[in-house]
Amino acid sequence: MKESIGATGLIMNEPLLWEKGREGRSGFSLPLRDVESVPLDRELRGEGPEFPDLSEVDVVRHYTRLSQWNFGVDTGMYPLGSCTMKYSPKTNERQANLPGFAGAHPMLPPSLSQGVLRMMFEFEQYLTEITGMDATTLQPAAGAHGELTGMLLIHAFHKSKGSQRSKIIVPDTAHGTNPASAALCGYNPLPVKSNEQGILSIEAIAEVMDEDTAGIMITNPNTLGLFEKNSRKIAEIVHAKGGLVYCDGANMNAVMGIVQMGKIGVDVMHLNLHKTFSTPHGGGGPGSGPVCVKRELEPFLPVPRVVKEKEKYVLSGDYPESIGKVAAFHGNVGVMIKAYSYILSMGAKNLKKASQLAVLNANYIKESLKGTLHLPYDRPCMHECVFSDEDQKADNVTTLDMAKRLMDHGFHPPTVYFPLVVHGAIMIEPTETESKEDIDQFIKAFKAIVSEAKQNPDLLHDAPKKCKVRRLDEVTAARKPCLAG
């Protein structure tokens, strides 16, 4: 197709919920009353919340219209770096909606919930195998939650050794959740710079690692899309000082079946099922952030744990050293079902193939756009590559301008201004589910934008033009916050 993918079409304006509706309307079928009314004492009763009364058609139209203002992976390419926006197979949605799963109460006796328990038991085994670790907990609800769980495990480990430590090493390329999770557990994050190659140098770690340092949080592949090739050596240094190695596995999509973190010195890591394992991101969640550990950390894992006794699956809370619980129940089971289904659909070969193609797509984009955009670290990348707006400074066009202009061309922008070590970073993660055709169109669009930046920069400054709204005033939004209507 010659023309750009981005076009404009008819969509509907739609007011806020409470600007619609009429008292007495209803969009909910009230169940029959087959019992008498036993009014609650006046003083306990309130007026009830002020909700608009809407009919079913009101609600359906409202959210159908809103949905049309949104862009998802099903709409087009969504190369949001570090987010692994791969296609979410539709069959996984079907499985998670099966009545036996969707309708299950979390406190059902094990004898009446074998299906879910078996799924969780097997799923833990699969993740343990994929990461090369020894045990897994599925309780964390997202990546950051997994990080915190990991920190708690490390803390419990040191405590059990009687030695408490105050610091933890966190590279400057780390995602913001890393230092935040460490801090939440009382650790002082110790920032270390990555070297000129964009990775951690053995020396840098050797320099800071000491007996008061609980360990290190490594993101591998890191957020520059580079493999931390010194990680083994770094692990040795950390271990030598009695520390533990935490791996942020958010970028696992690059190395499934290629690297088992457990085999290269990692003691504890989290996975993002909503990234690597294809569960949809839902406009911000729910996700799931299982944590995989080596033997020495297993005693501290959250309870209850699913164990198999003879042919039955049971829940056991009998782990005296456990850190306790990080979620009320068993974690985001509905999300696990989708990731479990994904792994079963893929099998070992296709998981590896997925990583290989994810890396292929990223390197293909890197090589194809290298002449067009400034590439701070010109090395083979993993699942994503990071450019900058260095070369556009002359046209006084920024990363943001290019990102917004991409929308008019029909693509979701990459992650921008992250990682912080690259100024005006443009972090592109295509994932393996983008075909060569689609990637070629993306490359074409980006090249077009860069030449637009020279010829007609205002096209970029005024972008986006095709979306429902133009650029929004985020400054006023933050200065005079209006958070509820």
Partner: protein
């Protein structure tokens, strides 16, 4: 493979551009001693149809309605969900989008979350609410930590009638940082004993759940006043959000922060998750709130639009100084909830809440008439505690064989309450369902 679009021709031409000979060559930066030699040990790939059979089998082994009558509540409630909500929630524009970092392309999610924040705040009687948290338990922890940040104190008092599992999560979060938790006991009428507060000092917050874990409706007003006398923040939590269709809301009773579980509002139980952590507060604490917030603003043409805002509180800007480490939250669950609340409306939520109360009262009366002890006389919403005679465990077994799950044994959580069970009846339990249970416990 369905999810891998590359043909071998495409792969080779792309490899050429990438400047390597084969897929393996792409991993040149991965040291050889880091590479996995063999293959991962995982089951053979299943076809879509084998997967359907497998999952169908697992699903059928679960005890759910209509085959089973489950009277379990205790933080996860069975409520009807309109087909319209399930359909709307399946629209891929909502499902397959990321966190709305690029507002121009995400106005659907953003307006919906703004609407959620608004209705959620109204339900809880607060000025503002966050975009969502993982679940009721983490929302409670975040609330306590928020109070600790605001008051710069290190001690919190927590009612022993807050969901036991929530309290366990609080303990887990607090353990490493040496923050102190005091638990408030309960009175024999089934509500929190707040007398103890008198001789406690430097409290950052007092947290009370209503309806509490026994289903009893707490006197938030009184607790709030006592708390404020102590210059501490009053946190009201809940596990059954629907109760506030009927009860006086926490805001009206002096709560500074309100948090709880939103699963009741249109989210399937799914063995406990994903659910929805709800958190709201007075506006003055806005900048101490954890997690995402959506705000209203204008675009270049002055047209109304919505954005993520106050990001300076968050980890991606503030890193270790952030108000929370949360990034991905439970956005789609918040969407389910706002769709559900919009379907109910003021009129509907009131009637539905009334009905829940009345169903439980019917069951309660049934047990009374059957000669069982309704342990706590404080009014309840849709859950209550019954004391059964010794050896009720056997009855339980029998009931389960008849596909009835009577309720939750409290002994594991409150050792003093042997033979005490927590039972729940929502609008999904018909009179017949309840009579069936009563019949069984009589015989």
């Amino acid at each position: 493979m369905l999810y891998l679009p590359h043909t071998s021709d495409e792969i080779s031409s792309m490899l050429q551009v990438a400047g390597v000979d084969d897929l393996d060559g792409l991993f040149s930066t991965v040291p050889d001693d880091c590479r996995l030699k063999g293959d991962l040990n995982l089951p053979e790939a299943l076809t879509e149809w084998e997967l359907n059979d497998h999952m169908e089998t697992l699903s059928r082994s679960m005890a759910v309605s209509p085959e089973y009558r489950v009277f379990l509540g205790a933080g996860s409630y069975e409520h009807y969900i309109p087909a319209s909500v399930s359909y709307l929630l399946s629209r891929s524009e909502f499902v397959t989008s990321y966190t709305p970092y690029q507002p121009e392309m995400s106005q659907g999610t953003l307006q919906a979350i703004y609407e959620y924040q608004t209705l959620a705040a109204r339900l809880m009687g607060m000025e503002i609410a966050t975009a969502s948290h993982y679940d009721g338990a983490t929302a409670l922890v975040e609330s306590l930590l928020m109070a600790i940040r605001i008051t710069k104190r290190k001690k919190v008092a927590v009612s022993s009638l807050i969901h036991p599992l929530y309290r366990q999560v609080v303990r887990t979060y607090f353990e490493p940082t040496g923050l102190e938790i005091v638990e408030l006991g309960y009175l024999e009428n089934g509500i929190t004993d707040i007398a103890g507060l008198d001789d406690m000092d430097d409290l950052a917050a007092v947290a009370i759940q209503s309806p509490n874990f026994f289903g009893c409706i707490e006197d938030l007003q009184a607790a709030g006043e006592k708390t404020h006398d102590k210059k501490a923040l009053f946190i009201a939590s809940f596990t059954e959000a629907l109760a506030y269709g009927l009860l006086k809301n926490p805001g009206a009773q002096g709560a500074d922060i309100v948090c709880g579980e939103g699963q009741s509002l249109g989210i399937p139980r799914s063995f406990g998750g994903p659910a929805l952590g709800m958190l709201a507060s007075r506006k003055k604490y806005m900048r101490s709130l954890p997690g995402r917030l959506v705000g209203k603003t204008k675009d270049l043409d002055g047209k109304r639009g919505f954005v993520l805002t106050l990001a300076t509180r968050e980890q991606h800007i503030r890193r270790e100084k952030a108000t929370s480490n949360i990034c991905t939250n439970n956005s789609l669950c918040a969407l389910a909830t706002v769709m559900y609340m919009a379907s109910l409306g003021s009129t509907g939520i009131r009637e539905l809440a009334d009905l829940n109360r009345d169903k439980a009262e019917y069951l309660k009366k049934g047990f009374k008439n059957a000669g069982y002890k309704i342990v706590f006389e404080t009014p309840t919403f849709n859950e209550f505690v019954v004391e059964f005679p010794n050896g009720f465990k056997a009855t339980c077994e029998r009931l389960m064989e008849k596909n009835i799950v009577p309720g939750l044994s409290l002994a594991p959580y409150y050792p003093e309450l042997t033979n005490h069970y927590l039972l729940c009846a929502t609008e999904t339990k018909s009179r017949d369902d309840m009579d069936a249970l009563l019949m069984e416990v009589q015989s």
